[in-house]
């Protein structure tokens, strides 16, 4: 048995950047080629994701949100840093921890929250729920609930880009556990043989639900694409500047015809797998979680911006108030939105009517 501890190599955190030039903060911005206004925007985004998810957590606790609800708290930089460098006409497809990824791609927080509430104004009119957020207008392609099941779909969207001779890019997200699925392996092989314009991103938070990745994988995450010849990279997903710079470059490579890429985006979730699961316990210790919370992506960027003189405490508080306002407004919007009409039960099952019966419970439309 190999030493499992060595299987989970983490890239070192260097959120402070190097110290050359005007302080550590300015050095970090310069190193990653991110200017101050963009860095401030990234902080705004991440604060919004955090406050949005905290609002969802609150709403879940009082029964406004049901079912499974997987929060992204702790993984904000992974969303902002990878999705923000995309163009509007690029695509994102992902699994079920996707509320903030949807917001990052441009889905309005109000309709995301309304979907979590199961309301008529939700992105799927309340039919999808937390795991199935879609917004065709901004090319956010879901929200998929079967681990790894969306990976071939991501390849298929990339297939369309190539088929139509467009220059778009697909970001296809998955959790670390998804790399053990056949769907992942099959999709990687097809992406490679057809040189599809997709970036397959493993949001590696080290645990598939309550099972540590190192216990169920013979290799590191980043090694999983190598047998298909797909270039792999690991990036510190708690450092939004590093993540942003990394994806900006990868997206350019793929858009330029470089074929698929694979990214081990190393992050950590600060909450349980879903709202019904504990934060720590049998599978990870309180101490581990507390230690990892020190790599809070929001605090790391805040410190960089403070240090660079691009933001002060008042500015931060103002920014946070705005994030809380938007999250609160999303919750109010969701709360005010009506439940879906009963007739909606039978809509959107079939896109095309034919002769003959499509429903078999004698409650079909028209009867």
């Amino acid at each position: 048995m190999a030493d499992t501890k060595t299987r989970q190599k983490r890239v070192s955190s260097n959120a402070g950047g190097n110290t050359a030039g005007g302080g550590r903060g300015a050095g970090a911005l310069k190193k990653h080629g991110v200017d101050e206004p963009l860095a401030v925007d990234l902080l705004k985004e991440m604060l919004l994701y955090r406050r949005f998810e905290e609002k969802a957590e609150e709403a879940y606790a009082i029964g406004k949100i049901g079912g499974f609800c997987h929060l992204h708290i702790g993984q904000e930089a992974a969303a902002a840093g990878s999705i923000k460098p995309l163009r509007d006409d690029d695509y994102v497809i992902t699994a079920y921890r996707e509320h903030t990824q949807a917001i990052a791609k441009g889905v309005h927080p109000n309709i995301v929250m309304a979907e979590l509430y199961g309301r008529a104004d939700g992105s799927s009119g309340g039919k999808g729920g937390s795991m199935h957020i879609y917004d065709k207008r901004v090319r956010f392609m879901g929200g998929h609930g079967i681990v790894g099941g969306q990976v071939p779909l991501g390849a298929g969207i990339a297939w369309k880009i190539k088929y139509k001779e467009e220059d778009g890019v697909v970001l296809c997200f998955m959790g670390d556990a998804a790399v053990n699925q056949g769907a992942f392996q099959e999709a990687m092989n097809m992406a490679a043989i057809w040189a599809l314009p997709a970036i397959f991103v493993v949001e590696n938070n080290e645990y598939g639900m309550g099972t540590a990745f190192r216990r169920v994988s013979a290799t590191e995450v980043a090694e999983r694409s190598l047998s298909y010849g797909i270039p792999a990279s690991s990036v510190n997903g708690q450092d939004v500047l590093e993540t942003y710079a990394h994806f900006r470059d990868l997206i350019a490579e793929v858009r330029g015809g470089g074929g698929p890429r694979f990214v081990d985006l190393q992050t950590y979730r600060f909450r349980g797998h879903s709202m019904s699961d504990p934060v720590s316990g049998t599978y990870r210790t309180v101490e581990e979680v507390e230690a990892r919370k020190k790599e809070d992506p929001i605090a790391l960027l805040r410190d960089v911006l403070f240090d660079a003189g691009a933001l002060d405490q008042d500015g931060l508080e103002e920014m946070d108030q705005e994030a809380r306002r938007i999250a609160g407004e999303a919750a109010d919007f969701a709360d005010a939105s009506p439940l879906p009409e009963a007739a909606e039960l039978y809509t959107h099952v079939w896109a095309q009517e034919n002769h003959g019966r499509l429903f078999f419970d004698r409650r079909e439309r028209g009867r």
Partner: protein, 326 residues
């Protein structure tokens, strides 16, 4: 009219639809350079090139899912399974993916995709390669299921399936590919989904069936005719949507029903049809509905056991006689 095989009819349907719509492409194992494992796609690579006729790796789950993603993004994929036996590997993408996407997204993503390939028993291929699996697909709302039994139906229904905006499991009879029949030449010969076809008209008993079994049903009807019994043979052609009006009409005409199918009896298509008839045409029935199905066992290899497992003309005649109290 032209006389062609079921295989050629399917080929013509794909060829015409690919000419008509540049967003239609064919992907599957052996579909391009090999001309298809059953030669259904013969010549299509030459006609349309390797961008639109694509040999896939043996990755049913993967290329079915690739098709679902391509359909989400606006293409119209035709995904060939070498046989539906292998599609079990892909059923997550068909049911959890294709069949539910339109609903989960509240209408944002229609799913114009065809999953096609042969199904049903062949000859001594034993358990894993001989089975009729249409009920797995018809069970799920969101998935249409088509089972052509003649060359003309194969062409007209495949064209309709490719033009349809919902996912269609298009199930061909593995033993029908060489069957010849008259097929209209018209490029727009499209048979709407959900329209059953009365393959034979009688008045004494209704044999309702679909797919390859229409030929067994017609042979049984021929035998019964010699005994003075006239049977309706109703070919459903599509399992979902279902031509309920045609079913109720034949029941009203004959008052007696035998359902013939190649699949297993438990929760089979015949079970659904029997439920529907007792619910909506109970007063028309003069006898219980009987079903003739594959024996409720995995398909055996030995020739004699295989013959015992399959629905046969004699078993259909026997069932009809029981329903007629003869």
């Amino acid at each position: 009219m032209a006389v062609m095989t079921y295989r050629e009819a399917l080929n013509a349907a794909m060829r015409e639809e690919m000419e008509r719509d540049p967003d239609v492409f064919l992907m599957g194992e052996e579909v391009a350079e090999y001309d298809g494992a059953y030669k259904v796609s013969k010549g299509l690579l030459e006609a349309f090139g390797d961008k639109r006729v694509v040999d896939s790796p043996i990755s049913e789950l993967g290329f079915a899912g690739l098709g679902v993603g391509a359909a989400m993004a606006g293409l119209r994929p035709v995904i060939e399974f070498m046989t539906f036996n292998f599609a079990f590997l892909a059923i997550d993408q068909v049911i959890n993916g294709a069949a539910k996407m339109y609903y989960m997204s509240a209408g944002q993503f229609p799913m114009p995709i065809v999953f096609r390939g042969p199904t049903g028993a062949a000859l001594q291929l034993s358990a894993q390669h001989s089975q009729a699996v249409e009920t797995y697909y018809s069970h799920a709302p969101g998935c249409k299921v088509v089972t052509p039994g003649t060359a003309a139906d194969a062409k007209g229904l495949l064209k309709a399936a490719i033009r349809d905006d919902d996912p269609v499991a298009f199930m061909e009879g593995e033993l029908l590919y060489n069957l010849k029949g008259e097929v209209p030449d018209d490029d727009d010969f499209v048979i709407p989904l959900g329209v059953a076809d009365l393959k034979r008209q009688g008045s004494d008993i209704s044999i309702i069936t679909h797919g390859k079994m229409i030929h067994v049903a017609l042979q049984a009807a021929g035998k019964l005719e010699k005994e003075g019994i006239e049977a309706d043979v109703l070919d459903l052609r599509t399992i979902r949507p279902l031509d309920v009006d045609a079913i109720l009409a034949t029941v009203a005409r004959t008052n007696r029903v035998v359902y013939v199918e190649e699949g297993w009896p438990y929760a089979g298509t015949g079970a659904q049809i029997a439920s529907l008839i007792q619910e909506e045409a109970f007063d028309h029935l003069d006898a219980p509905i009987l079903r003739v199905t594959q024996a409720d066992v995995p398909m055996p290899y030995a020739k004699n056991l295989e013959a015992l497992a399959k629905p046969t003309t004699d078993r259909v005649v026997e069932a009809c006689n029981r329903v007629l109290y003869r």
